[in-house]
Structures are given as C-alpha cells and as structure tokens.
Amino acid sequence: MGGLDGFAITFLNGKVMAEWLPKIVEGFALTVALAALIVVAGLALGLGLAVLRAFGLRVLNWAIIFFVDLFRALPPLVIIVLLYFGLPGMGISLSGFWATWLSLTLVLAAFSEEIFWAGITATPRGQWDAGKALGLRFLPILFRIVLPQAVRMVVPPLTNRTIAITKGTALASVVGVAEILGAAQSAMAFSGNPSPLTLGAIAYALLFLPVVGAGRWIERRVAIPGR
C-alpha cells in the first residue's frame, strides 16, 4: 500500500464517510442554528448597548465599558465552561447548546458594542448639529441620522468579528453538543477512523468560505464610497 493510498484510506475512507454523513449533516444544521441565534442576539445586544451609551449617563456607561472589557478579555471557552459547569451549582442548568449560545452572544455583544460605538463617535459632530437645526430631538437624530451612517461605516470590522466569533460554535463540542465538530469526533471514536473529521472540516469550509465571500460582498455594497 503506497503512502497516498494509506492517506486516502485513513482520511478519505468512502465507506466510513457514507456511514457517518447523516450525523455530520445533522451537526451542520445544529452549527448553523447556533451561529444564527448568536449573530442575531449578539448584534442586537451590542447595538442596544451602544445606543444606551450614546445617552451619556456616567454610571451606566461605566457599567457598559466594564461589560465590554470583561467579555473582550475572557477566552470564550472559559466562559462556556464556567456557565456549563458552574451554573448547576446554583440550581440553574443550561444545556451545552444554550451555555455556548449565551457565552458567544455576550462575547459578540461586547465586541459589537465597541464597534458600533466607534461608528457613532466617528460620525461627524455636524450631523448632530444639523439634526438639531432641523428641530429633531435626540432620539430621532440618533436613529434616523447618526446610526444609519455609523452602521455603514463599521460594516467591515463588524462582519470580520462576527465571522470570527461564530467560528467559536466549534467550542460547543467541549460541552457535549453534537454540532459539526462534536458529531465528527464521536463518529471518529465509533468508527476508529478519522474520515468523519475530514467530513467535518469540509462542512466547515462549505459553511465559512461562502460566509467570508459574502462578507466581502457586503463590505463592497454597504461601504460608503470614498471612505
């Protein structure tokens, strides 16, 4: 058996792959669901916090800055493990899926708050003044003039960060979720062959290569020309 044949039988074993493909597909669906829930909740919370920060209430802003710093400094896996193994001690039991969801949502919220806030502060002062001159109040200026510009300005860093954090869904395998990596690992254990892991890697490539491409496309579409 040549080296290349050995490699193919080990990592691209058709029989093993066919047998475990359904499990990997299920894992794929779970990864997509988890990622979608994280993106929606994380970005909404991040935007909400950035809007709250725009009110300029000192104590509230300190709390927001501390929240952001905390979840930017802690490794996501540490947060997941803490919620998953820690909360049952308080009588609250989160499944691995929801522990991962909550952890990565908080992380994405922290990063996206910082990014949204950078966009809000980068919107020229004159936009606020012009809004006031038109007789608009604080909230209409914020929501109808400043935010639309701020959000477009920060789309590139926001997409990059969102993609990076959704890749963290693979961490859910550590707390027993049968998403792509979890499914591939248990399939590898059952079959005694690493081909399911190859399938898993292909599944991630199928999932994230288009996402990366779509990110580039969104950047081009939404970006304000000349910036």
């Binding site: 490794p75 896996l77 820690g86 961490l171 990596l181 892991l197």
Partner: protein
Amino acid sequence: MLEDFVDSFLNLDIVLRAMPILWRGLVQTLLLAAIVVPLGLAHGMAIALLSRARSRWVRWPLAVWTDTFRALPPLVLLIFLYAGLPFLGVDLGPWGAVALAFFLNTGSYYGEVLRAGLDSVPPGQMEAARALGLRPSLALWLVVIPQAVRNVLPDLVSNTLEVVKLTSIASVVALPELLFQARQAQSVTYNASPIVAAALAYFIILWPVVRLLSRLENRAVASGRG
C-alpha cells in the same frame, strides 16, 4: 441565594486548595503564549512577504493556503492534528499539535494584518533606502517593516490578544494550561470556584491589553482611519 452563589463560585477554601495547580497552569499558559505568538508572527510575516510576489503561481496557492486556515475553526484544526494524524503514525503530542495548529491558524491572521501593513508603506521608502545603498533585504528589515508594523500596531495587538485567549483551547487536548488545571480542580471538588479563579487570572492579565486597545482604536477613529 447569595450564600449559594458565594459557595459555588467564590469558595475561597477551594480556591486556596487549588492554588498550586492553578499557578502551574498559569505558568504553562504564559509559556504557551510565548511559544505560539512568535510562531504565528513568523508564519504571518512569511505570508505577507510572499503575497507581494507578482507571479500568480505564488499568489494563488498562497490565497488557498490562508483561506483554508481562516475558514477552519482553530479547535477543528487542533483536533485534526491531535487526534487525526496519529492514524497515519504521526503523533505530535499535545504541545506539538497545539504549536502546529497555532502556527497555521494564527499565522494566516497575522499574515493578513502584516500584508495590510506592508501595503501601507509608500514604495518611495523602499526606493529611497535602495538609493542610499542598502541591500533589498536590509532595506526591508530596517526601513519598510518597522513602518509597516507601526501602521498596523492596533490590529497586531488585537490579534495577539485573541491568540493568548485562544491558548485556552489547548485544554481540550489535555495540555495542562490554566483552563485545563481549573477544570481538573473543578471536577475533583465539584465546585466552579477554580474556574472563576482562572477567569479572574485571564482578566487580570488581559484587561490592560483591552484598555490599551480601546485607546489605540479610539485614536484611529479620531484620526479618520477607523
């Protein structure tokens, strides 16, 4: 309720008992970071320099190489190297698998950042250095790269922060770093306080970096580079 909370998350007794192994874990985490950050930077610099090649025979394989490692979650790459390669008779062990996974994954990200840095240095700098009689390699190291690094410093620091945080995934392949030791202590004591202590250690070490980044990023936004 509060008592429950203190008992299960802030149990000083248990943290003190776990202190020696947590400390060993922290030392391993710092050692790990000291190994994988230079590895990633070296790979990233190689990618950034190669990506300036004009030949498509260099650029295309390079793009496939970096995009592959950016599309794969780092934990997937790590498990592949740690649990997959032994089937081929190649057993890297935890340290080898972690080092190689970080070299491949974080190198791709550093490569992107450093490439942007190199692109930001006007070609006139290279030409001027050459006109002064510097060899190309010397001109690159003494003139172009220092400016490139300075121009993308916030992104480099930000990436390095992510790399240090990412070392926690080494716990999954039983490398005895901070999170691994905290989980060992937690599973022996059935108490989450060691994990809280580990989280606190990460926070104490990395918070100054986060603060610094926040300031660097705000300055970038203020100067219109955001």
